[in-house]
Symmetry: D3
Subunit: 323 residues, 6 copies
Amino acid sequence: MERQVFLNGTFVPEAEAKISIYDSALMFGDMVFEMTRSFNKKQFKLRDHIERLLYGVKILQIPFDLSVEEIEEAIYETIKVNDPLFEKDDEHRVMFEVSRGTLGLYHQVKDIHIGPNFIIADFPLRWTVSTMGPLFDSGINAVIPSQRAIPSTLLDPKIKNRSRLFYMMANIEVSNYSGENVWALLLDPDGFVAEGTGDNFFIVKDGTIITPEGRNILRGISRSYIFEIAEQLGVRCIEKNIDIYDVHTADEAFMTGTPFCLLPVTALNSLKIGKGTMGPVTRTLLDTWSKNVGVDIEKQIKKWTGNSKLPAGVPTPYSFKRK
Amino acid sequence: MERQVFLNGTFVPEAEAKISIYDSALMFGDMVFEMTRSFNKKQFKLRDHIERLLYGVKILQIPFDLSVEEIEEAIYETIKVNDPLFEKDDEHRVMFEVSRGTLGLYHQVKDIHIGPNFIIADFPLRWTVSTMGPLFDSGINAVIPSQRAIPSTLLDPKIKNRSRLFYMMANIEVSNYSGENVWALLLDPDGFVAEGTGDNFFIVKDGTIITPEGRNILRGISRSYIFEIAEQLGVRCIEKNIDIYDVHTADEAFMTGTPFCLLPVTALNSLKIGKGTMGPVTRTLLDTWSKNVGVDIEKQIKKWTGNSKLPAGVPTPYSFKRK
Amino acid sequence: MERQVFLNGTFVPEAEAKISIYDSALMFGDMVFEMTRSFNKKQFKLRDHIERLLYGVKILQIPFDLSVEEIEEAIYETIKVNDPLFEKDDEHRVMFEVSRGTLGLYHQVKDIHIGPNFIIADFPLRWTVSTMGPLFDSGINAVIPSQRAIPSTLLDPKIKNRSRLFYMMANIEVSNYSGENVWALLLDPDGFVAEGTGDNFFIVKDGTIITPEGRNILRGISRSYIFEIAEQLGVRCIEKNIDIYDVHTADEAFMTGTPFCLLPVTALNSLKIGKGTMGPVTRTLLDTWSKNVGVDIEKQIKKWTGNSKLPAGVPTPYSFKRK
Amino acid sequence: MERQVFLNGTFVPEAEAKISIYDSALMFGDMVFEMTRSFNKKQFKLRDHIERLLYGVKILQIPFDLSVEEIEEAIYETIKVNDPLFEKDDEHRVMFEVSRGTLGLYHQVKDIHIGPNFIIADFPLRWTVSTMGPLFDSGINAVIPSQRAIPSTLLDPKIKNRSRLFYMMANIEVSNYSGENVWALLLDPDGFVAEGTGDNFFIVKDGTIITPEGRNILRGISRSYIFEIAEQLGVRCIEKNIDIYDVHTADEAFMTGTPFCLLPVTALNSLKIGKGTMGPVTRTLLDTWSKNVGVDIEKQIKKWTGNSKLPAGVPTPYSFKRK
Amino acid sequence: MERQVFLNGTFVPEAEAKISIYDSALMFGDMVFEMTRSFNKKQFKLRDHIERLLYGVKILQIPFDLSVEEIEEAIYETIKVNDPLFEKDDEHRVMFEVSRGTLGLYHQVKDIHIGPNFIIADFPLRWTVSTMGPLFDSGINAVIPSQRAIPSTLLDPKIKNRSRLFYMMANIEVSNYSGENVWALLLDPDGFVAEGTGDNFFIVKDGTIITPEGRNILRGISRSYIFEIAEQLGVRCIEKNIDIYDVHTADEAFMTGTPFCLLPVTALNSLKIGKGTMGPVTRTLLDTWSKNVGVDIEKQIKKWTGNSKLPAGVPTPYSFKRK
Amino acid sequence: MERQVFLNGTFVPEAEAKISIYDSALMFGDMVFEMTRSFNKKQFKLRDHIERLLYGVKILQIPFDLSVEEIEEAIYETIKVNDPLFEKDDEHRVMFEVSRGTLGLYHQVKDIHIGPNFIIADFPLRWTVSTMGPLFDSGINAVIPSQRAIPSTLLDPKIKNRSRLFYMMANIEVSNYSGENVWALLLDPDGFVAEGTGDNFFIVKDGTIITPEGRNILRGISRSYIFEIAEQLGVRCIEKNIDIYDVHTADEAFMTGTPFCLLPVTALNSLKIGKGTMGPVTRTLLDTWSKNVGVDIEKQIKKWTGNSKLPAGVPTPYSFKRK
């Protein structure tokens, strides 16, 4: 058997999980989504993800009316179906998403699906993080591209949507930089640090953890969890506008994201941040996170290292040839 | 037989033309596309559309290497396959598009398609324009929503891409306005008139045709054709920043778009523009266009009126129910 | 007898309280003003209003030199003159204002008043709030118009001045929306929520009361009083940039304004905020306010309901006809 | 007899031409107006002024429905009434304006005027220009204040309205500069030269006359007339963004305004423009204008010099004292 | 003997301390610098200054590798060399700076210095402050010029660099204002108060000391010291966006700068702030500072008054004449 | 003998041409300058350069009063002095510049120069262009850094001044890009293409030559000369806002600068422009220029190739060591 994707109430093999070319998701990037992970196969902060999805559904006025509980149930069912196909040491990376469905104009296409699409995919987390193991040691070299983040007033990144071509363009842009471990770090149009292309950014200065105000960024659930851990540790953690100077003069920096939790950022535009290694506050946050969830996050990812994930910005090497 | 969609070199039934949920098109709105039409079943300005598509392919660095000629050939082949299923008085609305393909991360999904997707769909133009017949008489009531156009410096609308959620949001917003025939007209962040959500905008003032500078808009191929017709007629046609006052004080206004060619805009925020009817310059442009292509554009669309297309901004009335 | 307006030291009947067409107030919108109310016929926060007026006088360099005490005395005198004409259950709505006076250019007009104008009007509060009773139950549907607030750097709304045509334009704009109880809610040019056209805006999220920073808004005296009540109640109340997403995801929202004190906002662009009714924090604030001032605010306004006030944005239905 | 002001169809003495404090004009700066002048007692470009007034009436949705002809007739009637009181060598400065009228809220004030106010005042032009005679020789020293013009996207200066407090503030600001003949010249928020506080600005460079694009300015009727004269003279005259550097490096500069027609600007921030005197192109424009209208504009204004008009930005020296 | 300047490891007489015209400092304003002072001939916060210099060196990637200690040692050596030439009551004003050095292009100039320049000058503080004594009594009249501060996103003022022509332009601009004691106070492009041209700005309101957020300003070391003193005194001191209204309505205001420590700002654009004299909080801060450093700051500067320093913005009165 | 630099009327050896550390040029980047070149040892457009210098002198109010003729004479004298030291095939690269001089504060430094500095240096052009020969064949790869151009409203690049640290920062930024022949191409804050860090930019599209509007750029004298040549050739050459899309879709592109005249730009962010080689219009412009000045520009520079000039953005490899 193969892994199955939940698609509008039925299960289909992964490679058959598809969306019509007439769907609003493809026509307008009009889809909301979430991607979660498990620790020891237990989903982390699943409710928070579902609630954020439903905020997006509401604001975009997608006529989708499942409750938090119904969504949660469908996710657990999907995991249950797929779990036998996972390695013992795998974690479940779940992607769930809702599109508005086929645009009204195309409803007359014969046999076409009418109404929103609700999809749940479940695949091994190791796919996503297989190249990240070394980054716990080397750290990320955050590079500021010319591409700016689209601000919330034009298209709100706090709605986790699929109109994110500018992330792809930022990734392509920084793929032209020299050196290793380069990840894009976007400024917003005001010149403040916003976010990575899928990650939140933090600095540590004089013992305080600082992250950009929740304005022109996704308010990541890992980002929120840093606030929780900081409180647990009695460390001050605040939201504040950060500019480039603040990063250059910070003691430490790190990125957060659901799949990898937390990775050190050791350089900005190739200039060392702090000592150029994972700093003590970052280390403590990571260790506490690991302890809280009962998984040594760094060790787990390092163990998986060796898989084939390409850096996000590099176009796939396959060019299209008509047969 | 059913209409067929060209999908990476093979033909599939329309309802089966789908894209993987792991495709960059769905993940990032990372797809370029074109939509053309025929007059008397002859494609109009097809080369211009293909060239624009390839500019997008180049700038987004999608590894797709078909030539203009190869794309053209594939389109004609698709039309040929489908033409028998079209009514005698139908026109071919062709949509062709290229996505980057499955993200590298998901290449290990069993049997998943690797490399860019190249898709050509071909369906009756009447679907798109079936509700537009009355607009030739009433005109459009252009309404300025709060939503601003994303400017080219953040995500260039001149690349005809699929990260267009803000179009959908503008459409939803103006669907809350009172009255009939409301279409969104977007300002850019500088407060200049940009474009509709899929249309270009023109005013006529003292005999001169004026359209926004080609900056924060799609440089539509119908828009370019207005310049051609104006030259043919000896009417001055220029690009210039337009602000709301200019529209309120214009003599005439109209929108252009591939499916309907040209529709009068007779009101801005429910205030009459000029006399509140299609003006003489607009009329001449439309008639000349009809004459040039050998189709009475207005008459053809009016004949098709009565089909079921819903206004773009209205969410489809079907809500999702898990079975 | 009729109600009298204090005009430069004398009392004139209300309909004769007028300003010369050559006054700077009419020429430039160059006037500062305040509007207060009473509870049980006792003026509320009158000193705060007078002080704000005098800040405006100072910044605009209007050569007006009455002290706080002199202004206060004149107001009380005006109230005393008019009180016999008020119903027993009326409250005094006092408007006092200062204009620079006739522009120097027109000083040679025979018998024209020279120097600043100082005016105090006093009319029944019920005029202002007569349509608002139902809003305590239905709540306001706050609608974001395309019109943005003029930021403080161009014309400071913290100076309560009479160059407020853009308020009128926002009101006109939202009068085109479908549905009931629509009030305009302005964004500033940065895309943050600013204020209503005469009201301040608050949200409640996770028990914290949040209102926009005091930048591109009038710093309302009712707004300040919310901070006082919050402190009295031990509820956290802060200033923070608010964007649209924050409102859509808030638990509660409300507007404050001198005449009505506090009204629930139950929808943003017709999408429910929280449960779509007055929330518990809002309710407590209102009840505490009522208790503090010894007037059941909601009950009082509901009792007055039935008068003829038209929604602010609707042009008066009388068209000018030259006799 | 005294000069009379037309007020809603009747004539009242000048000092009694007043607007209620409850009028939308005073409450919101919600009034449109025009100010014209005569040459040899013949109104200049009166129709253009009336048409501009009516564009404002339309956009602001003031329910005022007089036609161009009716307005014109009322103006001529007003002039006729007042002409006997004018000196033989006087010119008629006509101000006509429309306000929305008493806000609905105040309709219950006893005997208050309901509906728009339509006012026509007619006074000697010499009042306005009595201090300007020397400026034809010295030229204006244009000074850039910190205050920026409100851009059209926030409040359109092309609608000649009464929410112009920022003009007054700019005037006050430059009244603090050292030196003579200082007039404010506003930049718009983009840093381009916009306009004076009631005047349009031009430079001459290499034989071409250049004036700011018609965006963040009033499109003055004198400004338009410069285009007419330039065409008459065969001189190139264009609209173009102007920045400070362009003014500093210009050959000549001038301001236009209805009362004075055209005055040389000989310095920017006290630095000489060109030779620091009225340049030859400016001179030719002025002379042609004089010739076209049959009045030696400069000579006429110089003859009137000596009246008491105070510089615009200086607060009147009378301070308010309660009697 | 004359005072000596440390220049790349050797001492040269003051007038011979020069930089090549081919140095990056002159070509690009590409130099970082610091200016300190002593109290009782003991350098104040020298380490903080050196650390800030090295942040600039790092961000600008100047290949300069002296340690904090080495720099400190060189400074003390320079002071030692010069101290015998100082008056007994003088203080040491030390300027130290690093330039990138001769651009590569000019390395072939015979005998030209290669590599960064490191310079330490040491001159009597009285030169800088000789005109400031009266300001402790009169206060500064802060004037907002049209020139805006360059924001950090374009050229970060937090890097204390030499591309500061806009400071000079602001100074020239305000030198045209009428009146005494005028210093420029810059707004940033958002319209917030930024800083003086070499000074930081504070207001006091309701007992709280407020200074602009550390964004578009130099984060002055005197500014930081105010936070220290405030903590010592138990006074609340915060960073917050300040707009013009906040200054006009403040109780007190002051500027800080290394040479003079703290001076009262008693007017904004010639309008009194608070009572128009040094306020009690400002007085306490100054007195505490004096006490902390063992020097009566005000008395010392007043004693030095009478030297010839010209106001910063006034061009020197000497015009160049070729011999 | 060595090359001599004209310094305030006397000649000094090149390595001794220095500016005091107390000069406004070093303190504020407060200096205007020009750099010219000869063709066959005859200065090109020298008068235009001198006039531009004097515009800067005027606007910055530097008290320098030499006439165009006097400056010209001094330049020719400097060339005459140095010419014997030039190779027969050398060209004269002349740099002349004016600083305000020692700040008033430092006038009491013993023997310090008072008044503006006027400097003329004259060195072989080959130094500047020695690495550029291959670029005529490969073309430049223009890369957009994150650093934006400072707009004219904040610090006008049209004044050729020395506060250009942001050029250096852009150069450093793009030195991190992979690949050869990378030059920075700056966007202005509006997202339009501005200029290189010392060069002007042009595209060719459909036979028209297009260069950015003369707003946020230096209006280069080579740039102006392209307009002259275009007119000579009958090719249309215009100023227009250019955005990134326009460059990607251009047929050709090139940069102009005094030392190299014109170099092809064959890629933007490593994506080929047009065919990726010098296009025919560019070729014709270059050839015409060569013909007009009687020097084969490309051949001359290629002949000089091999000298040691380092790419602009790379810090010199020498680190400072205190002796």
